[in-house]
Amino acid sequence: MTAGGEGRGDTPAAPAGEQRGRARRDRPRRSFSDRYAHYVFLAPWFAGLFLITLGPLLASLYLSFTKYNLLNAPEWTGLENYRRMFGDPRFYHALKVTFIYVGVSVPLQLALALALAVVLDRGIGGLAVYRSVYYLPSLLGTSVAVAVLWRQMFGADGLVNGLLGHLGLHNLPGWISDPRFALGSLIALNVWTFGAPMVIFLAGLRQIPGTYYEAAALDGAGRIRRFTRITLPLLSPVVFFNLVLQLIHAFQSFTQAFIVSGGEGGPADSTLFYTLYIYQKGFGSFDMGYAAALAWVLVLIVAVLTAINFIASKFWVFYGDE
């Protein structure tokens, strides 16, 4: 989104500036409203940026170098919190769990989204209905109600084991109470919400001119060739957009793990998402300094991954104007 957004943002601004410049020459004095209007329109946003976003961001950076339990004044401890992380097995574990979750669920989710978008875009009819049905889970997926449902479904007496029982499989584990499978149930939940990226893929597929396919068909290109040579390259900016967005979303997942694991992080910490660990440290044991340090590491991870994504995108994302 950033790539597309900024690109679009730059172009219309320039001619607009010229126009405004000319208008200014015609009318020697800019009105009061012209000179100060943007302060008024942006006042709430500026206040929010500094008080709710940037201020707290800097404050959390400061707190990450302190020991702070809300009751006593923050006590400067330098890099102690970060040093503590290196010796904290739960920190490594939370990182591992989160990386597995993101690394498995996001590719699966995007693959499913792309596959269905391509099928639906063929003009088979009923697009609006299918799109709605597949999209609905995206809206509900982060709700507590669905997390509660998941907790029942993947429990020992849950829906999944009931269905498998019909197939003759019995004495199955309670998936969410077994450290080997608990994370899998949360991955399934994230994959289930593939509708949102699917809708974005569908919008992207609409932008590909049909003439390309007609020409390729005339040249005798089969369906697979058309997909790999036309659809994928032309859709790559959208794939990139979805990838960046879903990665960021997935890294920040919290509700699902919190509800499914009862706030504990599951059996043997098997669903201890990184965000859940931050919450436990910050609001469970009021270890605010350490929580802030953990959060900053998350920011760095997300920033580095996004940057890697942008750099790597030069090699596989194809923009039409290049």
């Binding site: 950033t2 607009a16 329109f41 976003t53 269905l116 875009d121 809206l139 049909g210 396919y213 007609e214």
Partner: protein, 286 residues
């Protein structure tokens, strides 16, 4: 729909197309099965919910709804009212503050505009977890914990940058001639904003309102952190206490209240599909 049909080579014979529909319908049923099963389950006796993957039971009951409604000693209606207060405030805040900021970014010229715009986009990616600790401290110093102010005031300050971005994109698509004409007629920016841009931005405002509703209604993290008094609980926080209170979850009432909590989202989904799809296609909101 029609354009898609027209521009694709019609090489597919009729029978495989039926197969595709069958596969798509089957897949849709598999996807929605858990939700439908929960809906039916909310009318089953709790003992029937266990290990019964079938949609249908021998007998049904409506008792789960009153049981869940009054389970906590505080009526579930109270939680719904609490959630509605938060959601209403959030919608009002986002509509006003985000559209105003978007107007400035889309139509006004000022120093460092590109930098501020880039910063605005950057805040979309910022994990909320990094600002939550200082926000918590700030709101606790202000005495705002256990009130809805921490959930509403940030929206009045346009902190949901997604919607600023969405509306910037939308306002840019409106013809500038309209503003210019209004300016020649002597309108200032405030009149242009309220009389021209806002009325024309109705689709973007609707998208913002619907997404704000769904996100805020579903938001668990902030409500969990800022609300600790059960009387102030919103729907998601209350729902969570249902499953955590006892080791033996009363699934019937829990399912009933889960359905109650999903119903408004589903309603908005049905009513606002057009806007939802457009919103997500242009900005990737979820």
């Amino acid at each position: 729909m029609r354009s898609a049909t027209a521009r694709r080579p019609r090489s597919r014979p009729r029978r495989p197309r039926l197969l595709v529909h069958a596969a798509l319908i089957l897949f849709g049923i598999v996807m929605l099965y858990p939700l439908i099963w929960m809906l039916v389950g909310s009318f089953k006796h709790t003992s029937d919910i266990f290990s019964h993957p079938d949609l249908f039971a021998k007998s049904y009951t409506a008792k789960n709804y009153p049981a869940g409604w009054n389970a906590n000693g505080i009526s579930f209606g109270r939680y719904i009212v609490n959630s509605l207060i938060v959601v209403t405030g959030a919608i009002a805040g986002n509509l006003l503050a985000c559209s105003a900021a978007a107007y400035a970014f889309a139509r006004l010229e000022f120093r460092l505009k590109k930098m501020w715009f880039a910063l605005m986009l950057g805040t979309i990616m910022l994990p909320i977890h990094v600002v939550i600790v200082p926000q918590y401290i700030l709101f606790s110093k202000l005495g705002w914990l256990n009130t809805y102010l921490p959930l509403i005031v940030p929206k009045l300050l346009a902190t949901d940058a997604f919607f600023v971005f969405l509306m910037v994109q939308f306002i840019r698509s409106l013809p500038r001639d309209l503003d210019e004409a209004a300016r020649i007629d002597g309108c200032g920016h405030f009149r242009i904003f309220f009389r021209i841009i806002l009325p024309l931005s109705l689709p973007a405002l609707a998208t913002t309102a619907i997404f704000t509703f769904i996100w805020t209604w579903n938001d668990f993290f902030h409500q969990l952190v800022f609300l600790t008094d059960p009387k102030m609980y919103t729907v998601p926080v209350a729902l969570r206490t249902f499953v955590d209170s006892t080791s033996q979850t009363p699934w019937g009432p829990v399912f009933a209240m889960s359905i109650v909590s999903l119903a408004p989202v589903f309603g908005f989904f049905l009513a606002g599909q057009r806007y939802l799809v457009r919103g997500i296609a242009t900005t990737g909101l979820k």
